[in-house]
Every structure is written in C-alpha cells, then in structure tokens.
Amino acid sequence: MIEIKHNRIDQSQPSRMLVIGIGNAGVNLADRMTMESLPVSKIIAVNTDSHSLMSSITVEKVVLGTIAARGLGAGGDPEVGAKAAEENMTEIRAHVEGHPIVTVCAGLGGGTGSGAAPLIARTAREAGAFVIALVTLPFSFEGRRRAKQTEDALALLEKSADLLLCFENDRMSEITQPGAGVEDTFEKSDILLEQCLKSLVHMIELPGLMRVSLSDLSRLLDGRNPRCLFGAGESEAENRAFDAVGKALKCPLLGRKLLSESRTVIVHIAGSSDVSLAEIGVIMREVEKYTDSDAHLMLGIGLRNEMSPKLTVSVLGCLSQPVQRDEEEEATAPVAASANTSRQERPAQPETEEEEAPAAQETGGPKKTIPATDPRPRRAIVEDGKKGTKPKQEFLPFDSVNRGRFEKSEPTIVEGEDLDVPTFLRMKIKVK
C-alpha cells in the first residue's frame, strides 16, 4: 500500500528537535531528558555555573559568561545572565544552526534562566527555528523580586518564542501526595515536564494519518499570544482512551478553565496501529466537553512503530487574545524582524476560515499529496480515518463481575479489589 510506504519514509526521519536546558532548573530538566532518552536529536545543558554543569550527565554543555559570571552563576540577577549569554552567543548559534525546532527549558525567576533564556530563544528564532519555550515559574513564597523577574522574562519570551508553556511550581502539590518529600516532588515535576515535552515531540514529529505539522502550528500561533496550555496523558489500561484523555485534561500545565477560553485546541493522539476509531471518538468527545463550542478543534493522529498498547493524548490550547507582537517586536528587536516577516509570507487566513485552512496549508507543504493522509477539517478527517485505521470490532469487556445496584456509582477500590462486587463472589464461596 502506498500509505505504508509513505509512513516508512517518515519513520526513518531523525528527530529535528534540539533541546537547550538553561540555568539550574533547565540543566536538571536536561539531565532528566537525557536519562529518559527523550527522542530528540540533541540535548544541550547551558549554565553560568560551571560547577553545576560539571555534575550534569548531559553530553553537550556550554558554560555561559566565563567573564561576566566567572563561572560562578548569575547570582539571581537576570542582567548578569543576559550578559553571560551574549558572551557565548556565537557558540549557541552554532549549536542551533540546522535545527528546525528548538526547545528552550528554563526555570524563571533566577538569574541565568530569566536572563539567558529569552536571548537564546531569540537567537534560535533568528536562525529560523520554531522555538518552544518550556519554563517553570517560581513558587509564590519565593518573594516578589523573583516574581517580577519572572514577569519580565515571560514578556521577553512571549516575543521571541513561538510556543510558550509554563508550569507553575505552586501546582507541584497537585502531582504528589500531601506530605511528600521535596526531592520526590521536584523529581515528579521534572518527570511531568519531560513527559509533556515527549508528547510534544511526538505531536510534531510522529508520522501518521493526520499530522499536526510544524507549519500548522506556526500558522496557528502566528501573531497570537504564544502562551499555550498543554496537557498530556498516557495510558495502557483497558479503557485507555478515557483514561489518557482524563490525565491529559488534569495535567497541571493545563488549567481547565483556561482551556475553555482557547480559540484553537489541537488534540493529538499517538499510539500503535491498534488505536480504534471508537477510542478517538471517546477522546474527542471528552475534550469537547472542556472547550468552548466555537473553538476550532484540530485532530492529529500519530502512529508509533511499536506494538505496545500505550495510547498518548496531548492537548494543546492556544489562547485567543492576539498580542501586538509584531509592532512591538520590530520596535524592540529589529533583528528578529527578518525571521518574523518570513513567517508572515505564509498564506495567513482570516480566523473565520480556519476550518479550511489546515488543508490548504498542508497541500502547499513539501511532502506527500496522498489524499488519505491529507489533514482536512475534522469531520472529513474522521471519515478518512475509517479507511486508514481499520474500524475494529469493539469487544465488550466480559462482564463476569456483578456490581448490582452499585453498577452506576463510583467503584470503591481498596488494594486493587472492587469492594462493590459481592464478597462471596470474589472469594468464590459457593452459593445456591
């Protein structure tokens, strides 16, 4: 089949993403990604503190500002961080060169992260890359000064990044048990961020029936607030579709209330070829519940080349309010203008025509014109999907358990046992 051949071609493509971890938090995250072998082409750890870099397990490292910071860290001052970054900008540029997607990871609020990250993001953008910024915001108890520095850095990042994802450290408590240790908590949040980035990589790079291509993303985000909401969930349980989408919608990077304010929501489903149409339906219906009825819902399906029952759902919501980035940017960062105008040349569609837009966008794209893989408005796509992902006969779970009157209530599960099922049935006591 032509389709399969097409998939293979795509599969062989190496990842095009470069990840840069900036500052202490960024380096920690880069370490975590190296450890989990995130499927990206390169991970670089960048810091002003040479000591922290020494203990990092990341292969590629760049010490910033050996003059400005003397390898001792930025001391919580973003100006030092920015100066240090400028010092080594050539080196950074050399790394960035040739990567169409650059992810900048940093913890904002401190010196290196807040100072260097916006500059590095700008450099990457000037080099023509699609820039994703994944940043953590400081705890509210870290004081007003750090909050102010965070705000400034965010404002800069909004101008220089295409996609900005924020994780508020204050929400860390949601992902751990009350009373969990600090180390455990930080590790969990690092893992969360790593998983989110992984799903984002999948979303952009996985071959599939319906791709959310980079051009789709950049067109959707163009001229808008780059600050996005992102949630990812993974499951291999029996009702994995429901489970995964539930997790994605509960992701702390995603505020449910805000998701309803998003004008455009991209839902990406990644799994092996056994993902059924019914599952896609479950996921889309669930997401629809939390989005505005007018919102533009885009669906992407990616296929992993492995035979695992794992299903990953990623939800990306673009906030509606457009920022006057273009004017501002031209005023404040004239260098970035060239990169920006090249973006503008792409066929920009008025918002009302967004439904048709992705199709027009994609057919103009460089690769593939096979109809079955052509992204189209959602409804059309689902029909295509019928041909692609063979509609599977759904198996009803064999209902050996009988919960009687508790059928419809929330199950009481203690130590893996559903206590609503009669005890004598579970203990296999014979009853006449």
Binding site: R171, M172, S173, E174, T176, Q177, P178, G179, A180, T185, N402, R403, G404, R405, F406, S409, E410, T412, V414, L419, D420, P422, T423, F424, L425, M427, I429, V431, K432
Partner: protein
C-alpha cells in the same frame, strides 16, 4: 417553655436521612425533643448523586422532625461522610515572641495554621483540624497551654480533608430547603462524641459506625483522635450481596437481612429453609438460611478485616483499653459483636448514644448515633465559643470556611 438552646443534627445517610432535634442543657447533657426520618433517595455511598430528590428527602426529614418536636428548625449541624474524605496527622509549631513569653489565643491559632501548611490536592479543602496534644518547649502532655510561659509552642493535629465540591454540594442541598448550616462535621467524629465518654477516650477506643453506604471509623487514645477514616462499604453492600447471591429483589433482600439474617455461620440447622413471601412481581421462594448467613458473614468479615488492616499500622487495636464500639444501622445485625471480637481480639460493644435524655426509643437506636452525636458536638462547640468571644471566633471560622469553599 423557653427553648433557646435548640440544636438540630442532620445526617444524610445512604439508607435514611434523619434529623434529631434536641435541647442543650447547661450541664452539657442533651434532651432529645424529636426525631424525624425519611428513607433517602438520591444518595449513594454517603454522597449526593441526585440533587433534587435528595433535597426533597432532606425537606421531608426536617418537616417530620419539626412536627414531632414542635420546634421550628432554622439551622442544622450536618454530618458528612463519603469515600473522598481523608485524614492524616500533622505537627505545627510557632515561636512565642520574646517580649511576651506567654502563650495566648493567637499562638494557638498560629500553631494550627502552621499545621495546616501541607500540600492538599487542589480540589480538597480542610474539614477539621482537631488538636491531639500540645508541646510546650518540647514537653508534651500539655492539655491547655494558654497562659503558660514558653518560647516555643508545638502541637499535633489530626487533619481531615475532603473534596471541596462534594462538601459544597451537601451544603447547597440543605440550603435549598431553606435551612442554614451551622457547621459540617465528620460523621465518625460526631458519633464518637456520643458513644465515648472522656474516660474511654483516654483509655483508647475504636468507634465503628457501619451505616448504609459507608463504614466510618475513628480511633481515640490519650484523650485525642489518633486516626480516622471512611470505607465506602456498608449495609447496602450486604443487601446487594444477598440480592445477587440469592437472586431476590433489593427490597426483599433488605427485609430478609433485617429479619432473618445473621453474621454468624453454622447456627442454623442443616438445610433449614426460610420462606420469602410472594409479592407483586415476585413469586415467593424458599432460601436456605445458611446461604444467607454465609453471604452476610463474608461481607462483614471483609469489612472488619479491612478496618483492621487500615488501623493497625497507625494505632495497634489491641492497645485500646476500652475496646471497640460498633454503632450504626448494621450494628443491629445479629452476631456482629461475635465476629468483630474474633477479628479485633478485644472486647467489642454494640453501643447506643450515651448521656442524653428524652424518649428512649429515640436514643436507644444505633441508627441515630451520628445525628445525636451532632447535637453533642454542636453543644460542645457552642460552649467553647460562648466562653471566648463568640462573634469574633465564629465569624472567623465561617469566613475562612466559606473562603475555602469558594476556591
């Protein structure tokens, strides 16, 4: 008759809703004036699932109580339960300012705030922070540190929290009826108020309230709560098991459980049969007594074993000097005591509310333990708040309570 200290306890249970009207007396006893009950609908496992129906049932129960007690109900104390409620112990600490050196009210509040500085899941809210014991400059065993000289005050609290929206729903459902909510109380805490006296709390006791949809438990030792919890399994499950096992309609199964069932096995004659009478839509049948008891036994044994497993790591049950008290509707099941004694290996009592007066039929019923307990809890709370500055304290408590809910 001047009835100014009227208290109303409302328990929204899975099988029935009951409202108890009582009069608080100065000697801290309660006189029951009337009890209103309705079978509840729209409630599963202690939580409201059908708002409208539940609201109607609450209305009926309150109306019934008003009629029986001849009192107009304005506000109620409400018991909450449900599988979402969790608890843990937390230690708080505060430093007494050098220039003062004496423990004051504000320090007690500070120490409570510091104990509450824990990561709750975002959707949860605090229900109770009950003091376990104070440490003054590292010495424990201080019951009331007010007025003591100290540098540092620490305290252990037992903290109970639950999902905000579910608690809010209960409150809204009651407000719908046009009645105010004085406060919400963990139902096992209310039950313990009326089942245990101070001496038993000191010696250590476990109170198990087996209701329709949930089994609530609370452990006291050294005069304070040590542990509490809720297992969302109760009498309804027993009925459901019988209904499935013997293939009977739910109503028949319930009746059979109450009239014929027993937790003990091996007490019936071999092959002894009981006749389930015919009814509209159900032709009568004979079931074997032993089978019925086996089903009940299996479920009750499982409940007790789960409780033992959950409580023992926190507080060894055999260290509890006053043993185990069982109350709630399921306490009426025959043979519950024997089974519980076998599992917990301590003396077990099936108890009814203590230290209340009024129509005996009202309080000598373990089904009403929680509702009557609410009265005692409310009465105790009132006397605390009147002894200090009433309005200030109460205002603060409620504003913080409702601030919490709005989140």
């Amino acid at each position: 008759m001047a009835r100014d200290n009227i208290l109303v306890g409302l328990e929204i249970g899975t099988s029935k809703i009951c409202a108890v009207v009582g009069e608080g007396r100065d000697d801290s006893t309660i006189r029951i004036l009337g009890v209103g009950q309705t079978p509840s609908r729209g409630i599963r496992k202690g939580e409201i699932v059908d708002f409208g129906t539940a609201s109607q049932c609450i209305h009926d129960a309150l109306a019934d109580a008003e009629e029986k007690s001849d009192v107009e109900i304005k506000s109620v104390w409400v018991a909450v339960s449900g599988g979402h409620i969790q608890s843990f112990n937390s230690r708080g600490a505060t430093v007494i300012p050098e220039d003062r050196g004496e423990v004051e009210e504000v320090d007690l509040r500070d120490v409570e705030i510091s104990a509450k500085e824990v990561n709750l899941p975002k959707e949860n809210t605090f229900l109770h922070a009950v003091i376990q014991k104070y440490y003054v400059d590292g010495h424990d065993g201080v019951l009331n540190p007010l007025g003591m000289l100290a540098h540092r005050l620490e305290a252990n609290f037992h903290i109970v929290h639950g999902v905000t929206t579910r608690i809010q729903n209960t409150i809204r459902c009651i407000k719908e009826v046009g009645v105010d909510v004085e406060d919400i109380v963990l139902s096992s805490l209310a039950a313990a108020e009326v089942v245990l006296d101070a001496n038993q709390k000191n010696l250590g006791a476990l109170v198990i309230d087996i209701g329709g949809g949930t089994t609530d438990y609370i452990v006291y030792a050294d005069g304070a709560i040590q542990h509490s919890g809720i297992l969302a399994v109760g009498g309804d499950h027993v009925t459901n098991d019988i209904s499935i096992g013997l293939r009977l309609p739910i109503t028949r199964a319930e009746k059979l459980k109450i009239e014929e069932g027993s937790v003990e096995i091996g007490i019936g004659l071999p092959g002894e049969l009981i006749t389930v009478k015919n009814d509209s839509g159900f032709s009568g049948r004979e079931v074997e007594l032993e089978m019925l008891n086996t089903i009940i036994h299996a479920r009750m044994r499982e409940i007790f074993e789960h409780l033992k497993k959950q409580i023992d790591p926190h507080v060894p049950i055999d260290m509890l000097g006053s043993g185990v008290m069982i109350t709630g509707g399921c306490a009426l099941l025959k043979g519950v005591r024997t089974l519980a004694e076998e599992i917990f290996e301590v003396p077990v009592h099936v108890t009814v509310p203590q230290s209340v007066t009024g129509p005996t039929s009202a309080f000598e019923n373990p089904q009403l333990t929680t509702a009557i307990g609410l009265l005692k809890y409310g009465h105790a709370m009132q006397s605390i708040t009147t002894s200090t500055s009433v309005l200030e304290n109460l205002g603060q408590k409620f504003s913080s309570l409702f601030r919490g809910f709005r989140l």
